[in-house]
Amino acid sequence: MATWTWFHKLASPPHFYRIAGTLTPWLAIPAALLIVGGVYGGLVRAPADYQQGDAFRIVYVHAPSAWLSLMCYTYMAIAAAVGLIWRIKLAHAVAAATAPIGASFAFVCLATGSLWGKPMWGTWWEWDARLTSQLILLFLYLGYMALRNAFDDLQRADRASAVLAIVGVVNVPIIHFSVYWWNSLHQGRTVLKEGGPGMPPEMLIPLLMCFFGFTLMYGALLCVRVRGEVLIRERNAAWLKQLGAPRAA
């Protein structure tokens, strides 16, 4: 029973609005420190790769962006499903707030991958399984956002876009396993592979810092965006009257 009280309290918009506001700096500051530290480690401290030279340093922004784009889609689909099944408005707010973040990093992943592919593979783009499925991910994000914008009624937008988000989630494991299922130009897993990570600690630690930093950054961005989404959805609620009272931000 206690768990449910906790859950209901968290899912109540005024409570969530306050918590998200308090949480934002606690996510944003560690995120900034981890990203700056990880990028410094990756660009300055890590040795050049014996095969790829200094071009491999693109991994410190490419792989965390790829991770974020997949994680965001998964969260978006879960939130959309929760919103659809249990009719929780806050879940739809989370899904709507996640989409632009995921879309932007899907784009970064593709663009930095292209900048990496040119010197390593000799081509900016190849219609390869990993690259194509990642491009489809970007289109799914864009489709989700376009579908939301096509409705004037927020509840309808929430429900229709939720269906698209849920159907599209099938693409996530396809991207993840594409390098095994098909012959791909893209290299296989490096960090989470059998027998431990395939890179020395001075390369690996900055990469992990970037992974955690990007993940926390998503948390901070989500907090800010969900607060906006909550305000839009709760525009007639009584609690908004207290918005400015104690400490609103």
Partner: protein, 73 residues
């Protein structure tokens, strides 16, 4: 330093990657902050449009609103 900027001959691929990533991060921060601020402004305007007795929370009806508008400014 020149060596570092040269990136072993891959400068034209490495630096644009980082530049783009940080540009997108900056746009994400700006976009999120602006989105929240806009929603807040709209909520505020709506509250001001409500009849006075509805918008009143307790003794001083305009105090919370004034504070809210200060913060969003």
């Amino acid at each position: 330093m020149a060596d570092f900027l040269h990136m072993g001959g891959y400068a034209q691929f490495v630096w644009p990657s980082y530049l783009l990533t940080f540009l997108v991060i900056a746009l994400n921060i700006w976009g999120a902050v602006r989105m929240h601020a806009n929603a807040r402004e709209r909520a505020l305007r709506r509250l001001q449009m409500l009849p006075a007795h509805e918008a009143e929370s307790s003794s001083s009806p305009s105090a919370p609103l004034a504070e809210l508008s200060k913060e969003s400014a």
